[in-house]
């Protein structure tokens, strides 16, 4: 058990360290978030009402798009640098690698989402501070849903032809329920209603997250061997 946790931690620590040193993913993602802001504004036009009505959707669209870029790169470093066999030959339960990668992705996604939230609040003049608590709950559950499947599919497509196309094509349909749930819950929260009103959606998200996580843990070693 301790060895498992330790292996998970090593993968997490290595990825975060690489990220902190090179800063290539995080910087690009943050810049991408800024660009999205402008893109959404230009696409929807100057009508403030329309933008505000679409805000929950735009927020999660931003998270998903950033997630596609960030998660898709989860295993690129290992693949490009011939470290894949190193992963395969790790002793013990391979699912620790999945967990470590998932944790690293959650940290990066979390950072990007906080920045996107802040930018949204600033540029679109939305009061997010008063609903920060409930919003954080939705964010955590939604990001888990995105990252659990995203990390698994990233490993899966790592060595496949046309992986940059295949990864979004595979991930997005699976993310539909997560997207529906998070946007609906966010809408409820931004309307000022209490978190309890979104309880059904949150339960769906939690259930889905659990299912995805379990499948990821169980099937990751098969993905590695492929």
């Amino acid at each position: 058990m301790i060895a498992y946790a330790r292996r998970t931690w090593i993968v997490l620590w290595k990825d975060l360290l690489v990220e902190r040193r090179s800063k290539e993913s995080l910087n690009a993602l943050l810049f991408f978030a800024l660009l999205l802001l402008f893109l959404f504004q230009f696409a929807l036009g100057p009508d403030r009402e329309r933008l505000h009505a679409a805000l929950p959707g735009l927020l999660w669209l931003g998270f998903v798009l950033a997630g596609l870029l960030g998660l898709g790169r989860s295993f690129v470093a290992e693949r490009d640098n011939d470290c894949w066999d190193g992963l395969r030959l790790t002793p013990g339960d391979k699912s620790a690698i999945y967990l470590g990668k998932l944790a690293a992705n959650l940290v990066v996604m979390g950072a990007v989402e906080v920045v996107i939230l802040a930018l949204f609040g600033l540029f679109y003049n939305v009061d997010l501070v008063s609903v920060l608590g409930p919003l954080a709950v939705v964010l955590v559950l939604g990001t888990l849903g995105l990252a659990t499947v995203g990390t698994l599919f990233a490993a899966l497509t790592a060595g496949v032809r046309a992986r940059e196309l295949l990864f979004p094509v595979l991930l997005l349909p699976v993310q539909v329920p997560v997207l529906l749930a998070t946007v609906s819950a966010t809408q409820i929260i931004l309307a000022g209603q209490p978190l309890g009103d979104a309880a059904a959606w949150l339960r769906l998200l939690a259930g889905a997250d659990l299912v995805y996580l379990v499948i990821g843990l169980l099937t990751f070693e098969f993905v590695l061997d492929a």
């Binding site: 899966l156 094509v169 329920p177 609906s184 769906l204 995805y212």
Partner: protein, 223 residues
């Protein structure tokens, strides 16, 4: 399954389809509210049921492939997925054609059509993935994982879409089958469903056989 048995199954399927056609147009009456447009349901409902059967088999094949490592399970999964996508497309197109005169629009984001469309996208992606991997063992493992995720997601999609629709539009009175379903209509639906299932099984057997022969054949050509 022997070639002869498969041919017999094909003949049975053809017979059943003909019977279904007769039942749908001869035996079943003109529906009271929707008129004869309702007869499209004798395609739409059996097709969606067959699609779910197909995707269930994809799950079985995927789990089998991972659990045993034997390629037969993967061949089942791949074949079932192809047929599942085919029948899902039939479901969507027939549903859309039915919707135009009934609801006035080619597409509507109602729960069933939306769920079916998402299903289509998931398994179309699955087929795309299979096409991108050439080595059979590798393809089997990778596809199996996606197959399991896709199948596990089906109930999640169903509920999320249902709740999403409940928020945005009250349920329409004009459902694809009005309730309660009249006797002859139910009978015609049943016959057509049996026919579609037989057709599905026949096509599945042929597809699996084709995959088996191709898998055995390809290594020979590399000499």
């Amino acid at each position: 399954m022997s070639a002869r048995a498969t041919r017999i199954l094909g003949g049975l399927a053809l017979l059943a389809l003909a019977t279904g056609l007769a039942a749908g147009f001869g035996y079943a009456p003109r529906e009271a509210i929707q008129g004869n447009v309702q007869r499209i349901m004798y395609i739409h409902v059996p097709a969606v049921l067959t699609a779910y059967l197909a995707f269930g088999l994809v799950l079985v094949g995927s789990i089998g492939a991972l659990a045993t490592g034997r390629m037969g399970w993967d061949r089942l999964a791949g074949a079932a997925a192809e047929l599942g996508v085919l029948f899902t497309a039939v479901t969507i197109v027939s549903g859309s054609i039915w919707g135009k005169p009934t609801w006035g629009t080619w597409w509507t984001w109602d729960a069933r059509l939306t769920s079916t469309a998402v299903l289509f996208l998931v398994y179309a992606g699955y087929l795309l993935l299979r096409a991108m991997v050439d080595e059979p063992e590798r393809r089997a493992r990778i596809a199996a994982v996606v197959g399991i995720v896709g199948a596990a997601n089906i109930p999640i999609v169903h509920f999320s879409v249902k709740w999403w629709r409940a928020l945005h539009q009250p349920s329409t009175i004009l459902g694809p089958e009005s309730s309660p379903i009249a006797g002859p209509i139910a009978a015609a639906l049943f016959v057509n469903w049996v026919a579609f299932t037989l057709l599905f099984l026949y096509l599945l057997l042929r597809r699996v056989e084709l995959a088996r022969l191709e898998d055995a054949w390809v290594p020979e050509t590399r000499r």
